[in-house]
């Protein structure tokens, strides 16, 4: 079998030399797949993405054990630019568009590691096809776009690197339901065009509805994984992420909370 586009093995990450955030996490994204990574705040989802893309440094984090490989090549602790050149692009949490630059300049920055101008131009056309709103506002300063448009720009910017693997960190965060559906469709479209996707989400229904496979993360390690359809049907997952009991009966908030506590997977 060919090497998966992303293979994380037994990864351990420590912040400030003391705070252990990932505790032996392993995860695989097969070539061409959409993999969803679910978990509550603080479970270590963003840390995992930082470890993959080499962005732990600015946060005083360090990989202390385990490995990250992109398409069979070890990139553990590599420079962010090397990871991008290997075909991994990231849409960071909170969009992080360059608000002072125009839409088109933001997209050009996304293609920073690429030298072939003709291919970059091709990518630009592709992004404008995918997001007509960006084409219409290509000369506008990114800071004046709406939240949804900024999310489109952040995704478009990542696509400018012509990635083989796209990492998305909570792309639905803070968006209206209609926009969440739009983001979902775009991710599906990007995947259909041949890019593998690792989708980090709290919106489990959205994520699992397009994923092939899902992982559930809790305090730094994987506590469950399986085909997306299985996870979506799973009563515990529904309970955790939808706040709705399987029988559809409403309970008081206090009851739900205590129930949740009892049913954590790991101590």
């Amino acid at each position: 079998m060919a090497d998966p586009i992303l293979a994380v093995a037994n990864l351990e990450v420590v912040y400030d030399d003391v705070v252990l955030v990932l505790r032996g996490l392993s995860l695989t994204v097969p070539e061409g797949a959409v993999v969803a990574l679910l978990g509550a705040n603080g479970a270590g989802k963003t840390t995992l993405l930082r470890a993959v893309t080499g962005l732990l440094g600015p946060h005083r984090g360090r990989i202390t054990k385990g490995s990250v490989a992109v398409a069979g090549v070890d990139v553990t602790g590599a420079d962010p630019a090397d990871v991008v050149r290997r075909g991994v692009a990231q849409v960071m949490e909170g969009r992080r568009v360059f608000a002072e630059l125009t839409v088109e300049e933001n997209l050009r920055v996304g293609a920073h590691t690429r030298r072939a101008r003709a291919l970059v131009k091709e990518s630009l056309e592709r992004v404008f096809d995918l997001f007509p709103v960006l084409a219409a506002r290509r000369g506008s300063v990114a800071g004046y776009l709406s939240g949804g448009e900024q999310q489109m720009l952040a995704i478009g910017r990542a696509l400018m690197a012509a990635p083989r693997l796209l990492l998305l960190d909570e792309p639905s965060l803070g968006l209206a339901p209609r926009l969440v559906a739009q983001v979902r469709d775009i991710i599906a479209e990007i995947n259909a065009q041949g890019t593998s996707v690792l989708l980090v989400e709290q919106n489990a229904v959205m994520a699992l509805s397009i994923a092939d496979h899902g992982y559930v993360l809790e305090v730094g390690s994987v506590v469950r994984d399986g085909p997306a359809a299985d996870l979506l049907a799973d009563a515990d997952i529904r309970e955790f992420y939808l706040g709705a009991p399987a029988d559809g009966e409403r309970r008081s908030f206090a009851e739900v909370k205590s129930y949740r506590r009892k049913k954590r997977w790991s101590a």
Partner: protein, 298 residues
């Protein structure tokens, strides 16, 4: 009227020197978030390198200017590489103290190599003048203005339109997001220091070719570029250039008219006027005239 225009001309020439130094401050501040107090040291270093090339080695002046700017750029990048890179992620306060330390290190190095005496830089301008419509214009001043204009235009073309300039602006706005796009922050920092040093060197050489000659205290002019940077807003390159010109004009005009207007205040009012403006501006607009007010839509 002629006297007024004469003062304006002197102010423009002085303002160009301030503009170059202030632009250097802003370039480093934008890229690294640090105000580089060693800028004056780089200016002096550039001026002395220019002296070595043009006078000691008797090179053509144009060649000497280009070589001095390049050598200063290399020195600036080296300072970044050797000293400041270790400080990435440390509190700005500590980094600023280091740049102040650098300023005091560069000066003895210069006096050790070139001595304390006032040197004359061989240059084609001397004290030649041209007379235009009754105005007596110094050739050196004209060249200072012309070279500054060329350097500033060149900088803005690079900063606004080149891929690397774009990478610098992206890094200035959000270093982590820029890293995530595969931009090398180290290269951005090093290039920023190189650009600032080259601009300072150009300011230093044109200044050293002037009536004051070249002495180790030449770097003090960078202090007067401080108000220029504050006036424009610490993170605005356009503001730095405008601020430099404004401060130069105000200083020259004050000098020209102080005997009539501020006789009661003594002879050297013009020297403190830039700082008075700086304090005033900070009171009214703490982010400068063109600086970022830090409103962001997220």
């Amino acid at each position: 009227m002629t006297a007024l225009l004469q003062n304006v001309f002197a102010g423009l020439s002085l303002g160009c020197t301030y503009a170059l130094v202030a632009l250097g401050f802003v370039v480093i501040y934008k890229a690294t978030g640090v105000i580089n107090f060693a800028q004056g040291g780089l200016l002096a270093l550039g001026a002395y390198l220019g002296y070595t090339f043009s006078t000691s080695l008797a090179m053509a002046f144009a060649v000497a200017v280009v070589l001095a700017c390049l050598a200063a750029a290399v020195a600036g990048a080296a300072v970044e590489r050797i000293v400041l890179r270790r400080m990435v992620g440390q509190p700005p306060f500590a980094v600023i103290m280091i740049t102040i330390g650098l300023l005091f290190v560069i000066e003895p190095v210069i006096t050790a190599i070139w001595g304390f005496e006032n040197l004359q830089v061989t240059n084609p301008w001397n004290i030649d003048t041209v007379t235009v419509g009754g105005l007596v214009l110094g050739v050196r001043d004209l060249w200072t203005i012309g070279l500054t204009a060329a350097a500033v235009v060149g900088f803005f073309l690079f900063f606004r339109h080149s891929d690397f300039g774009l990478a610098m602006r992206a890094t200035a706005f959000d270093p982590e997001a820029a890293l995530a796009q595969g931009i090398s922050a180290r290269r951005v920092y090093a290039v920023s220091w190189a650009i600032a040093a080259a601009l300072a060197a150009l300011a230093g050489i044109t200044l050293a070719a002037g009536p004051g000659g070249l002495s180790p205290s030449i770097g003090f002019i960078a202090l007067a570029a401080f108000p220029a940077m504050i006036l424009g807003g610490v993170d605005s390159p356009t503001g730095a250039v405008l601020g430099g010109l404004v401060i130069g004009l105000v200083e020259a005009l004050t000098r020209g008219y102080q005997d009539h207007l501020f006789a009661w205040a003594g002879d050297n009012v013009s020297v403190i006027v830039p700082y008075l403006i700086m304090i005033l501006i900070l009171l009214v607009r703490p982010y400068g005239l063109l600086g970022t007010r830090d409103v962001r839509r997220i």
